[in-house]
Symmetry: C2
Subunit: 232 residues, 2 copies
C-alpha cells in the first residue's frame, strides 16, 4: 500500500515536525536520505522509515507526499522518523554554544566537535534547533554521535567541576598556541554577530584568541574548528 | 532629488547586477551596508554610492527602490557600485578553490585566507561567483583585501614555479602536523560534496589530511581554516 494523500494522519504528523516547537513537544525529528536513515537504525533511535520505493521495513509514500514532508522541490528518496535522545553525562571535552544562529555553522561545528573529541555539545537558549533539517544535513551524521545538553549557560558553567573553561575574545585573550591543553576543557563560542553574551562572559575566566593578519574575526565555525583541533 | 522609480535606467542597471553573468560582462558589482561602502571608497573601487537618506556623496533612493536593488525584504541603508579588480601577480601563499559552491563557505574561506596570509585566491570554473551578495556578506570585507585570479586549474597548477602544492585527501595524505611549512605554498580545496576533481588531482603531488576521530570529513571552510592556520 502506498500513502498518496497528504491528508493521511501519519503524513500530517510528519509535516508538523518541520516546526521546532512541535519537535520539542513530541521529542521526535526527521532525518533525510539513505545514509542518515541507516545511521538512525544502527543507533536504535529510528521509529519508522518512509521511502518512495517499495522496500522491506519502509512505509511507501508517493513523490508528492515525500515533497510535502521534506518541504523541498526535489524528491528525497527516503526519510526516517527518530526519537531525540538528550543525555546528561559530561565527556571530558565540552563545546558550549551561546546563540549560534546559522544552521550551516551549527552543522559544521558538530562535525568538528565529533572529529576532535568534543563529544558533548551544550546548547544555550538562543541557538538554532539542532533538529532543523539544514542543521542535520550539514552535520553529516555527526548529530547521531554526539551528546547534547540544553542548559541555561551561566548556571551550567558555574556548576562545572574540574573543567578549564575558555571563551573566545580577540581583545583580552591568550594566543591559541600558548593555551594549556588540559584533560577537561570547555570551549564557549558565541553568536555570529555579537559574540558571547555578557551574562555568559561574566562567568568565564580565560579567553583564547587566534592570531590573525588584518582581519577582525573568523567565521565562528572556522574559529571553533581551529581551536578544537589545537586542543584535541 | 530622490530616485523613487524602479524604472529609472540607473536602477535597472543596478538590478541587472544581481546576475553573475551581467556582473562579469560589466566588471562591476554591488556591496551592501555602510561598512563595506566605506571600505570600497578607501580602496578606490567605488563608482557610486546610494543611500535611503540624503547624504553628501550619495545618490538618494526610496525604500522600495533600495529593496528592488538588493532583492531583500528588509531595507539596506546604503549600497555601493564597485569596479572588480582582478590581479595577476601571485603572493607567496595561494588558496586554490576547485568548485566551492556554497556562498557561506566561500565567504568564510576568504576571511580565513586573509587572516592567515593566503592573500591570493585562485578560482576554478565551477566555483560560486565571489561577487554574489551572500559571499560578500559572509566575507566581511575580506573581498577587498585579497587578490583573485580566475584560471583553468590544471594548467594553472602545472605552471606554478617554486610552490609546494598541497591537496587534501583523507586517504593518501600527510597528517597536518607533519606537513613542511615552506615559504611558498599553494593549498587546493575541493567541492563540498565531491572533493577535488580528478583532472586537478592528477596535477597535485602531495596531499594533507587532518587526523579525525570517527568522522569522515570536515566542512570545507573549517578544514581550509585549520590548514591555513597551521601553515601560516
Amino acid at each position: 500500500m502506498i500513502i498518496s494523500s497528504v491528508d493521511n494522519p501519519k503524513i500530517k504528523y510528519l509535516c508538523k515536525l518541520n516546526k521546532a516547537s512541535f519537535r520539542k513537544k513530541e521529542g521526535k525529528f526527521i532525518v533525510e536520505g539513505k545514509h542518515l536513515v541507516k545511521e538512525a537504525r544502527l543507533k536504535k533511535i529510528l521509529i519508522e522509515a518512509y521511502s518512495i520505493e517499495e522496500k522491506e521495513g519502509y512505509i511507501t509514500v508517493s513523490d508528492n507526499v515525500m515533497k510535502k514532508i521534506t518541504n523541498t522541490d526535489t524528491v528525497v528518496s527516503e526519510i526516517g522518523l527518530c526519537h531525540m535522545i538528550l543525555k546528561k553525562e559530561l565527556t571530558d571535552k565540552l563545546l558550549i554554544l551561546d546563540s549560534i544562529q546559522d544552521p550551516g555553522n551549527m552543522g559544521a561545528l558538530m562535525r568538528s566537535a565529533k572529529a576532535f573529541g568534543f563529544d558533548t555539545i551544550v546548547l544555550g537558549d538562543g541557538s538554532v534547533d539542532i533538529y532543523n533539517d539544514k542543521v542535520i544535513r550539514s552535520s553529516q551524521g555527526a548529530i547521531f554521535k554526539l551528546n547534547f545538553i540544553n542548559a541555561y549557560l551561566p548556571d551550567f558553567i558555574k556548576s562545572l567541576n574540574g573543567y578549564l573553561v575558555y571563551g573566545t575574545d580577540v581583545v583580552n585573550g591568550i594566543p591559541l598556541e600558548k593555551v594549556k591543553k588540559e584533560a577537561k576543557i570547555a570551549l564557549v563560542l558565541g553568536n555570529e554577530g555579537n559574540g558571547i553574551s555578557n551574562e555568559v562572559k561574566n562567568v568565564i575566566e580565560k579567553n583564547i584568541y587566534i592570531p590573525m593578519d588584518d582581519t577582525e574575526s573568523l567565521n565562528v565555525a572556522v574559529a571553533g574548528g581551529i581551536i578544537m583541533y589545537e586542543l584535541k
